[in-house]
């Protein structure tokens, strides 16, 4: 009764409420007047007295109205909550009655959302999380542009001139990465560091946590040796010693004063542990020695575009007097900080996120199909509800509540799954995006997962609910007849969509996977197996066991002789340019008697220093002439070896031995003409992906003083070779860190990025196949269940088992084939997006496409066959008696 009164009031609204209140107060006044009259007062006096005793009626009514208005708001809220709770209760009960749908749905959604959310943690960390630097969106990276449109690091003179463009960049800092050896307080270790100019810290906008940044006096040519170190290094190597500031540590054997400790957030360039003043090092004489990277803050009101236009113009004025060259800037490039750090990864990340959203789409389609099948089965129930006066909205709400319950549970499970997957992706991310330190499951990620869950829940329930509730009552009567025809069409359509999406993903994974195979199969041009490699950075200078360049060369000789004498050693060599290991400097060489020697177009080539046995140790074939010999020393005729790419590109049909080459500006030594004495085969140098470049080789006995690596070819197990090398290195200079590794591991690691990309896409494709297969199985099983009677009858009159099975499989065949066709079209259209990830493979590669179609078709057939086969086991007696 109370509830009805409330509903009545709710339905009839405010006016009634006001008159109710008037009734209530009037009654009181009337009764009071009656009472007073009863006590002997005259009516007029009684009314006056009653009104006095009652108080201001208008004020009281107002007060009560305010109280009731608040009460109504609260009531509406609780009633909404109650209705919601009731919906959830009914949905939960209905799901528990058929746990198959609920479990399957949760699993499907968990897979889809788990994979999507795991990828999103990466996007979140890379694109959305703020940097530790204040106002990071005003930070930009500056580059020089070459005449070929490629970006170059900035030359000494240019960067000092750019620093005066304060109208564009009030703060501009330049830096250059370096490696130093720290041999105090533990094993010797290579540390990453950077030479940074004084405004650098201001550009990042961060201050030291202890001590101070470089002073003006320190940031100049000839300033005292000082360093600031990162919090990480300070804790790791110096036990967070608070008195470290002001003390002297030794870097590369030189004493340097620590002036400040920088907070962990400073961490730039990535993984740098210490910083030294760049001003002490910059030569400031060249506009073509590209030594510096530049970060800056844009002036207020200046956009990156404006800054780029104005800086380009300024740069062209600066280089106006330079001789045109590949290495002279023709403009400047201004890139937002985050874009610079993301680099090419942006595309890869978006592509992977796109792929994984396709997986989620399959999951959503799958759930929709399950819901459709379930809706057909529930037509009786829905019909009864409609007959009892339920509105279409009620039915839709009920379907939505059920599916939301499933997808929200699946979403929560997916979030957990993402947490696990995140751990697996950590090392890959660290490699691709060094600035991303962790992949947090923050509110944004959780919100993403839950938003997907709600989206999938609503999308998967609306169409089935609309369809189910639009039916007439007669459906309940003519059940199993024409009722499912339009639903069946929709089910088939969705099945086709699943198959199409699966084909797209499988072909994408196939393309990337086959690229990886090709990449691993590339002939690098040198032999890797059985080789151990290590850095051999013998130093010159006071306090070093090898104080001069001549003594360094002698030390190399001695070490090589020792290593060659070890049992098992087949060959050993020293080089400045070990493929996939060392830096690979290049520059403008000159060929005597060609325009390149007289200011013509330069002969750009790699610059490599090797020991005489280098080509033999790496099995780089000698094509013509001779290798370096022990007799090629300082004082003997100056010689060079070039590779085939050099001959092809710069010498053509000429006899290479008639030419002499020169590499000016590569080091401080004088640079006489060197006669070409040999031609060797090409090899991949920077990365397996890159084609071999022209290169000039010199012998380390004639060109001294370059940082080097040692490579040993031995018949012994690599581990024992490495152990031996370690003791040998310590014998030469015990302050040098040991970096030895099996070369095959190095080559393997160089493919880590493409490998993980392939693995990720492969996993996504596998999930897609699995989901599609599950969808097909469910649809065929449903079709079989719907036609139990018919199949039973056919079995009863003697239909063979194969015919029954075929019938079931054929049921799936048409939508699957349609899906394959659409999928191939989609793969052709979308494959272009993956173009940059492919190696020697076209996006529309027919073999890959055929393979993807084959795989998907096989999986689809098996998925259809299993439930179809089960149909043959229907007992005709039971089937015919049913209904």
């Amino acid at each position: 009764m109370r509830l009805r009164g409330r509903l009545f009031r709710l339905a009839t609204g405010r006016a009634t409420h006001a008159s109710d209140l008037a009734d209530e107060l009037t009654l009181h006044l009337d009764l009071l007047i009656e009472e007073l009259i009863g006590e002997g007062m005259d009516p007029v006096g009684a009314r006056r007295e009653a009104e006095r005793r009652f108080g201001d009626r208008y004020r009281i009514a107002k007060t009560v109205q305010v109280i009731d208005a608040r009460a109504r708001g609260a009531t509406r809220r609780t009633e909404h909550m109650q209705r919601l709770l009731q919906d959830i209760r009914i949905a939960a009960r209905s799901l528990i009655r058929q746990p198959g749908f609920a479990l399957g749905g949760v699993l499907i959604v968990a897979l889809g959302i788990g994979a999507s959310t795991a990828m999103f943690t990466v996007l979140n960390a890379a694109f959305l999380r703020p940097f530790a630097y204040p106002d990071a969106d005003r930070m930009v990276y500056l580059w020089e542009m070459s005449n070929k449109g490629t970006r170059m690091s900035v030359a000494d003179l240019n960067v000092t001139d750019w620093s005066t463009e304060t109208r564009l960049f009030p703060r501009l800092g330049y830096f250059s990465g370096t490696q130093v050896i720290l041999s105090e307080t533990g094993d010797p270790e290579y540390l990453r560091g950077a030479y940074v100019s004084r405004p650098f810290a201001d550009v990042l906008g961060l201050k030291p946590m202890t001590g101070r940044w470089f002073s003006e006096d320190e940031a100049r040519k000839g300033g005292p040796p000082v360093v600031t170190i990162g919090e990480g290094l300070w804790r790791r190597r110096f036990g967070a010693d608070p008195s470290l500031v002001g003390k002297i540590i030794h870097l590369d054997g030189e004493p340097v004063t620590v002036v400040g400790i920088m907070p962990r957030t400073f961490n730039f360039p990535s993984d740098a542990d210490l910083w030294r003043p760049a001003e002490q090092r910059i030569r400031g004489t060249s506009r073509t020695a590209h030594n510096w990277r530049v970060v800056a803050r844009l002036a207020p009101g200046i956009s990156a575009e404006t800054a780029q236009r104005d800086l380009s113009a300024a740069t062209r004025r600066l280089v106006a007097d330079e001789k045109p060259d590949d290495f002279v800037a023709t403009g400047a490039l201004v890139i937002p900080f985050r874009d610079q750090l993301l680099g090419d990864s942006r595309k890869v990340l978006l592509l992977l996120q796109g792929a994984v959203l396709l997986v989620l789409l399959i999951a959503a389609v799958n759930l929709t199909n399950l819901t459709l099948a379930r809706a057909v089965r529930r037509q009786g129930e829905v019909g009864v509800c409609l007959a009892l006066g339920a509105r279409r909205g009620d039915i839709i709400r009920r379907f939505a509540a059920e599916n939301l319950l499933v997808t929200l549970t699946g979403g929560a499970a997916g979030l957990l799954l993402a947490g696990v997957l995140r751990g697996l992706m950590g090392s890959w991310i660290a490699r691709m995006l060094p600035f991303v330190k962790d992949l947090p499951l923050d509110p944004r990620v959780a919100g993403f997962a839950m938003a997907l869950a709600v989206l999938v829940g609503l999308a998967s329930s609306l169409a089935p609910a609309w369809r189910a509730s639009g039916g007439l009552l007669t459906f309940t009567v003519t059940r199993g007849g024409t009722s499912g025809r339009s639903s069946r069409r929709l089910i088939d359509l969705l099945m086709s969509a699943e198959v199409a999406l699966a084909v797209i993903l499988v072909s994408g994974a196939g393309l990337v996977g086959r690229s990886l195979l090709r990449l691993s199969g590339v002939d690098p041009g040198f032999a890797v197996a059985g080789r151990a490699v290590m850095d051999l950075p013998l130093r010159t200078g006071a306090g070093s066991p090898t104080p001069t360049e001549e003594s360094v060369a002698l030390a190399y000789d001695r070490l090589l002789a020792e290593v060659r004498a070890r049992p098992g050693t087949i060959a050993a060599a020293i080089t400045s340019a070990l493929p996939l290991w060392s830096d690979n400097p290049n520059g403008s060489a000159q060929v005597e008697g060609t325009p390149s020697a007289n200011g013509g177009p330069p002969t750009v080539a790699d610059f490599r220093i090797v020991s005489p046995d280098y080509f033999r140790t790496l099995e780089i074939p000698l094509r013509k002439g001779r290798e370096f010999q022990e007799s090629d020393v300082v004082g003997a005729p100056y010689v060079a070896v070039v590779n085939e790419a050099f001959v092809r590109k710069y010498l053509g049909a000429d006899d290479p031995f008639g030419h002499r080459v020169r590499f000016p500006g590569m080091d401080s030594g004088n640079d006489p003409w060197a006669a070409i004495v040999g031609v060797v085969g090409d090899n991949r140098q920077d990365a397996l992906v890159n084609q071999p470049e022209p290169a000039i080789y010199y012998t380390y006995r004639q060109r001294l003083g370059w940082g080097h690596a040692l490579v040993v070819h031995s018949s012994l197990p690599i581990e024992s070779v490495l152990a031996d090398l370690k003791t040998r290195l310590a014998a030469v200079d015990k302050s040098l860190p040991f970096t030895g590794r099996a070369w095959s591991d190095v080559v393997h690691d160089s493919l880590a990025l493409p490998r993980i990309r392939s693995v990720l896409l492969g996993v996504f494709a596998a999930i897609a196949l699995l989901l599609s297969a599950a969808g097909i199985t469910a649809v065929v099983a449903f079709a079989v269940a719907q036609r139990t009677r018919e199949i039973g009858l056919r079995i009863a009159i003697g239909a063979p088992a194969t015919a029954i099975t075929m019938n079931g499989v054929v049921r799936a065949a048409r939508p699957v084939l349609a899906g394959l066709v659409v999928g191939v079209a989609g793969a052709l259209a979308l494959g272009r997006l993956a173009g940059s990830l492919l190696f020697e493979l076209k996006p529309g590669d027919p073999v890959t496409l055929l393979g993807a179609v084959g795989v998907t078709l096989t999986v689809a057939l098996v998925a259809a066959y299993v439930p179809a086969r089960r149909a043959t086991r229907i007992d005709p007696l039971i089937a015919l008696r049913a209904e």
């Binding site: 009071l32 009652f54 009560v64």
Partner: protein
Amino acid sequence: MPPQPVDLLQGTLEFLVLKTLSWGAMHGFAIARWIRKATDNALEIEEGALYPALHRMERKGWIESDWGVTENNRRAKYYQISRLGKEQLRREESSWTRYVSAVSKIMVAARGQT
């Protein structure tokens, strides 16, 4: 329940209404009469002030209301105490007793010292 000085009067009125309704459902006028009779006219209040209190208490869920008719066939809103209201009444009764006994102790002590 700690006493709230500002709401003392309002709290007292609510207490009285709950106590009154514990005898059975009544409309507003009857409640006012009952309070007046029970207190021997000692608490003279504006009778209209009863209604904000009644509606506020209804919102708190202490009392419930329903429309019915009086003996003279007039439409009237009847209030009755709810389960929540009974609990509230019990709480207030005990705190009221404590309050009264504390105050009377002070009075007795004061008299003893003069």
